[in-house]
């Protein structure tokens, strides 16, 4: 794993020439005052909400009990898939994400929104469904979250690859709700309309992944295909602690294209 100092110059040069697109994941929204729990922590809270009497699966925030290896073995998307199918009203699961609508943004969201507003980055990519970057930008840049908008290609704006919550009108609230992607089936093994946007971003710019584990099959397979197509492209990946197993696999497939580094 590289250190920030060794990639700093490359990244700063790309940023200066407006060729760097940040791709942010859930860890960005973990910091104060947003305080959103990460991955399994979020799922843990969701499961406690629907099965309050069962005290199941998880002992505390980040440690899963050893006698429930089966649950531990599965990714959040697999569990959410099962949960959605077992609910009589499966649209109800979108409410889990709507609870995030009141979370305040933090300074990282603010920096990203400012970079986009001041045309320092061509676009912003995220898999987060929360509206923190949107709120930090005070509605001054386009929010792209549904397939129709994605089909218009890469342009200035915040691209929510897995949909977004919120909305100003009844129509928009319903449209945004429809866009939420969080189960394995809805993700599938490849991005659909969104693939072209990612392709344009990697081929003509560079991605800088921040707070993102790479653990989404649709993004993973699309990135893998794109990197095979453009072997000279580079994705800079900021990692906190140990890289996820999925990121290690992706890097193993494209050792010259994925450059991961520690934040400090």
């Amino acid at each position: 794993m590289k250190k920030w100092k060794s990639v700093q110059q490359d990244i700063e040069e790309l940023a200066a020439s407006n060729k760097l697109i940040p791709f942010v994941g859930s860890a960005i929204s973990y910091f104060q005052p947003t305080n959103l729990p990460l991955g399994k922590g979020l799922l843990n809270s969701g499961l406690q909400g629907i099965f309050p009497c069962r005290k199941l699966f998880i002992k505390d925030e980040y440690k899963w009990t050893s006698d429930e290896k089966e649950i531990d073995r599965h990714s959040p998307e697999v569990i959410l898939q099962g949960l959605a199918e077992g609910l009589l009203n499966r649209a109800k699961l979108a409410d889990l994400y709507n609870t995030m609508s009141a979370m305040p943004y933090n300074s990282l969201h603010q920096i990203l929104a400012s970079a986009l507003l001041n045309a320092k980055v061509p676009a912003l990519f995220t898999t987060n469904q929360d509206r923190c970057i949107e709120d930090a930008g005070r509605g001054q840049f386009p929010i792209i979250y549904d397939k129709q908008d994605f089909s218009l290609g890469l342009r200035e704006g915040l691209f929510h690859f897995h949909g977004a919550i919120g909305g100003a009108s009844e129509y928009e609230i319903a449209k945004r709700r429809q866009s939420l992607t969080f189960t394995l089936n809805s993700m599938g093994p490849h991005l659909t309309t969104e693939h072209k946007v990612l392709d344009d971003a990697v081929s003509n710019n560079s991605l800088l992944c921040l707070g993102y584990s790479g653990s989404d099959p649709d993004i993973w397979y699309s990135l893998s295909e794109i990197l095979e197509k453009y072997p000279e492209a580079t994705i800079y990946w900021c990692v906190r602690g140990t890289p996820s197993s999925n990121l290690i696999r992706l890097q193993g497939k494209h050792p010259n294209s994925i450059s991961y580094f520690k934040e400090t």
């Binding site: 089966e70 697999v78 077992g86 099959p217």
Partner: protein, 370 residues
């Protein structure tokens, strides 16, 4: 870096702050009855392969105290509890109980919910097409009059076809939809063709056609998680593909199943198909694939799949022994053991009686040869 003012240090939340946000998130599941929560919990267990636990939740111990008994006054919950129990029992290869619960689901959904009726018929067809249900006359799945598995699968396909895409999507259930039913039918044809080699080329062709059709429908239905597996099944039997192309497709299905789908049946089946493809070109690698499939099926307690894999392993062992160097006597003895194992897997006779019988037959043949 972007000429933006340094925000200073960003702080991680403390435990009090995290508890507060968790409390907010927990409020999402309001307005659900206890029965609805129990139903969702049971299906969650089924969907992650904890079939035994799911059965206890749904039918209780000794058929008492489960959701099925508690929900008799609520037709929708009762119907779904029976369907989920049938699904779990089928995965455990407990076909008698699977049929019992699926018939309850069929009864409850009749003239009430066509989609759930189709799903119950689909699972019943799948159960009746399972390996251990196979009889000699079942080798004609293209004649539904004599093959109950194919008959129920075709009924499910007919019912799914008459349901709107929106309703199917809203009631999607793990591997139960039009694409999945066609896939099961294609797999049934494929399996039968494999058991009757060299003489069922038309059936093998029909299997490929059905699976290819299933693949397109799975795409339309957005039942995307099973697509890599369908592509692998199609590639395995495609005469126009080279071994390397087939293996590439199957390896990508294995990768997807292990890393993302995490479904026992998909992981085991992907290794099983790889074992089949490698059987004639690299028997030892094929054996390793079958062993991997066996361990996955054992973890999930899938009796039918375990039996099928054991048969392939025994057949593969008999073939591998003949290809290895060694004395004629050693080859003969080892082959006899492999063949006895193969026949043992196929017959319900007590193992010790059967082994003695095979030993005596072996001695007789050996005396004739020598």
């Amino acid at each position: 870096m972007w000429g933006i003012e340094d925000p200073g240090t960003v702080f991680a939340p403390n435990s009090k702050m995290l508890r507060k946000s968790q409390k907010t998130i927990r409020t999402w599941a309001t307005g659900l009855t206890q029965e609805e929560r129990d139903l969702a919990y049971s299906w969650l267990l089924v969907s992650i392969g904890q079939y035994e636990k799911a059965c206890i939740e749904l039918v209780g111990k000794n058929g008492r105290g489960g959701l099925l008994a508690r929900s008799k006054s609520n037709r929708q919950i009762h119907m779904l509890a029976a369907l989920f129990a049938g699904y779990a029992k089928r995965e455990l290869s407990d076909h008698n109980d699977a049929h019992k619960y699926l018939r309850i689901a069929l009864e409850e959904s009749k003239d009430y919910d066509l989609c759930r009726h189709a799903q119950a018929a689909h699972k019943l067809g799948e159960s009746l097409s399972a390996f251990e249900s196979v009889r000699f006359w079942y080798f004609w799945p293209t004649v539904p009059a004599i093959h109950p598995g194919a008959r129920w699968l075709l009924k499910a396909i007919e019912e799914y076809t008459s349901i709107s895409a929106e309703e199917l999507a809203a009631k999607q259930l793990g591997r139960a939809g039009l694409g999945a039913a066609l896939m099961n039918l294609g797999q049934l044809y494929r399996r039968t063709a494999a058991y009757t080699p060299y003489i069922r080329s038309r059936l093998a062709k029909q299997a490929r056609k059905t699976i290819s059709n299933a693949l397109n429908i799975l795409m339309d239905e957005k039942d995307l998680r099973v697509i890599p597996m369908a592509q692998a099944a199609l590639a395995a039997d495609d005469p126009s593909m080279t071994i390397d192309e087939k293996l590439k497709q199957i390896d990508s299905a294995i990768e997807y199943a292990e890393a993302w789908n995490q479904d026992y049946i998909q992981i085991g089946s992907a290794y099983f198909i790889k074992g089949q493809v490698l059987a004639r070109v690299n028997p030892q690698a094929s054996e390793a694939c079958y062993l991997k499939a066996l361990s996955v099926f054992r973890d999930a307690g899938m009796k039918a799949e375990i039996a099928r894999t054991k048969i392939e392993l025994a057949a593969s062992a008999a073939y591998t022994i003949n290809k290895m160097q060694g004395s004629r006597e050693w080859k003969f003895g080892s082959s006899m053991l492999a063949i006895s194992k193969l026949i043992l897997c196929l017959t319900p006779v007590k193992p010790i009686i059967f082994l003695v019988l095979i030993f005596l037959i072996g001695l007789f043949i050996l005396s004739l040869i020598l």
